[in-house]
Amino acid sequence: MLKINSPPQNYLKSPSFISKELLYNIADDQEIKGIIITGTGRHFSAGADLENLFELVKYPDILKQEMTAGSELLEQISELKIPVIAAINGVCWGGGLEIALSCHIRFASAKALFAFPEINSALLPGLGGIVRMVKESGTYAAIANVLSGEIFDAEKALKLNVVHQLTEENVLEYSLKYLNSMLESKPKKVIASIMQSIHNAYKLPLHEALHEETLMFCELAEEEAARRKSGSL
């Protein structure tokens, strides 16, 4: 479980809320079969720490570097070979919303609030949030929300496919239960292969995605055949 941890608002001090290397290590850990991203306390995240950001503007090269790294980090999250769930409570704004949108599955408490407030500071969501919102909600909704900066509630987020499900329960517990029932006792390699085939299906040309899927199936089949032969099932 990853917690965005700078309460109360969980402002993002840097565009990268976790290092790439750490994320890779987590994803490679044989014991870790899924990730939940949530916020410490009442809120998911109110987005970028603007003071920090404007400080960085003095060093344009570093700003560019940091923003690029943050954007790549979210891309890395969306391509992880284990399921990633955003458990959204309270405020989920700006960079926080961009993090949430990079997760495969998004659950929110019924009281969660969403926005891309960047426009209020004459900025735009710079970590891929626009691209992802266009994909999930369509061009019109993306334009409307990015240009207005308006706060929208959980109901509307559900309608826009920004979140997949609302819950009255504690959203973290809800996400945990969901993930457990999905993964149960499945071997990590099975999970990783299926996740990879899902990513491929959207990303690769048809014949390549088909080829990769069969190759991964072959590996699992060989292992399963060996397991059955040795009777260790």
Binding site: K186, E213, L220
Partner: protein
């Protein structure tokens, strides 16, 4: 003639009926036979449409896992070639220039769902059950299931089907767009034939949505 398939050609339409009672599971023989049949019929200009269905109560319970995993592990290349060829066979239906219609009743899971999803159209009875149970056997789809399914749905639903192993009933499948038309189970073949006749002349695979809207969703 084939043992695991009933093949019939009648009035321009080729009928492929999976026939390994009770649930038409797909064993090695089936995959060899369907490959051979595909070679024959997709190069035959008289065949203007193909309808795939299952004999008896079910479409198919998918691959016979015990049979498929019974290869000699010392020659995995042979197994790999076999699986690759199976995926290729399903892809040939997908890429066919003539309409390929799945007529589904009862159970249609695993590789059977892969075959159905590779088809251009799916007409189903109300009693169908769709799903990918592979993960519960420590396996995954290997004949394009993930690829064909991704045209219809997002990652969350993909994960629930492929990873969690959720099954879909007919209304859930129809809502996702996986099923184009629901009919009474004794009417599936007749409806599939009528539909095939309406679209097989000058068939254009790019117009899938138009055909579904005009001929399947109307009335």
């Amino acid at each position: 003639m084939y043992q695991s398939i009933n093949w019939r050609f009648e009035d321009n339409i080729g009928f492929i009926e999976l026939n390994s009672p009770p649930a038409n599971s797909m064993n090695k023989l089936f995959f060899y036979e369907i490959r051979e049949l595909t070679d024959k019929i997709l190069n035959d200009e008289r065949v203007k449409a193909i309808i795939i269905s299952g004999a008896g109560r079910h479409f198919s319970s998918g691959a016979d896992i015990r049979d498929l995993l019974s290869f000699d592990t010392r020659v995995p290349q042979q197994a790999k070639d076999f699986y690759m060829a199976n995926s290729h066979t399903f892809k040939r239906f997908h890429a066919a220039k003539i309409p390929v219609i799945a007529a589904i009743k009862g159970v249609c899971i695993g590789s059977a769902m892969e075959l159905a999803m590779a088809c251009h159209f799916r007409i189903a009875a109300e009693n169908i059950m769709l799903g990918f149970p592979e993960a519960s056997f420590n396996l995954m789809t290997g004949c394009g299931g993930s690829v064909y399914l991704s045209k219809f749905t997002g990652k969350k639903t993909m994960m629930e089907l492929m990873l969690k192993g959720n099954n879909l009933n007919v209304s859930e499948a129809e809502q996702l767009g996986l099923i184009d038309k629901v009919v009474r189970k004794d009417e599936i073949i007749v409806k599939a034939v009528n539909f095939a006749r309406q679209i097989y002349d000058n068939y254009n695979p790019e117009l899938r949505n138009y055909y579904v809207g005009k001929f399947l969703k109307s009335k």
